[in-house]
Assembly symmetry: C2
Homo-oligomer: 141 residues x 2
């Protein structure tokens, strides 16, 4: 049912510092790193580092009630936060997850790629927070 590994989410205290890591240490060209955007409703800033076949999503807390503030408190340097797989239809995926006994953490909402996403309780996935996102209609997203 899951399709492509769309991205790995990495929570960091500073997106600008993390961009520097991928650019200066790992040699990712500046043109492959997106500008930083804000999603105030979800309490995060984000940017993508485009890798040959996938993406790293850098996320930084935004505002006092950011859902990733606690993660950064526990992991002050940052760390891997979630893995995102694509699905064809988010509502079908949501219903399948429920039928299969998983706890879906949110109603489908529009994510950083402009398509609806859900998160699955890490307790259902060996401690890993998994995001499911509907495949963007323009293919790669």
């Amino acid at each position: 049912m899951i399709g492509r590994l769309n991205h790995v989410g990495v929570a960091v205290p500073s997106i600008e510092a993390a961009k520097k890591t991928y650019r200066d240490l790992y040699g990712v060209p500046e043109s492959a790193i997106t500008e930083t955007r804000e999603l105030p409703a979800q309490g995060v800033k984000f940017a993508f580092v485009n890798i040959a076949n996938s993406q790293i999503e850098l996320i930084e807390p935004l505002g006092e009630n950011s859902p990733i503030a606690k993660f950064i408190e526990k992991n002050p340097r940052g760390g891997q936060h979630h893995i995102c797989f694509e699905v064809q239809d988010i509502y079908v995926a949501r219903d399948e997850m429920v039928v299969r006994g998983a706890r879906v953490l949110n109603e489908p909402r529009i994510g950083a790629h402009g398509t609806p996403i859900i998160f699955i309780d890490p307790k259902n996935s060996d401690g890993v927070l998994i995001e499911l996102m509907e495949t963007p209609k323009d293919a790669h997203g």
Copy 2:
């Protein structure tokens, strides 16, 4: 410099249970999940879950001195452990990492895909443990 995102490493207390998660909850066909193998010298068991464009590497501690035993102690359900990017030549990559001021954690050694790998100190990569592996000569690996 880095190429494909070869895999995301997920440390788990039980590979067999984690295989069930990807098969029964996320619908990955049995044929896309490799058999479990042991790397006693590195203190791990591992198996791969093949995703359309990448892989999840499931790793489980093997033996008393497993380097991931502490990780499982801290994260008893399991969790995201490392991200692996491909590089063309591991020795060139190792030398570049050193020149750029990163701490390389090991001499190149043969990893689960049969090609040499190194790990970079998470302190150099925003708290993320990054593995660099030489691209397998048979392309996809």
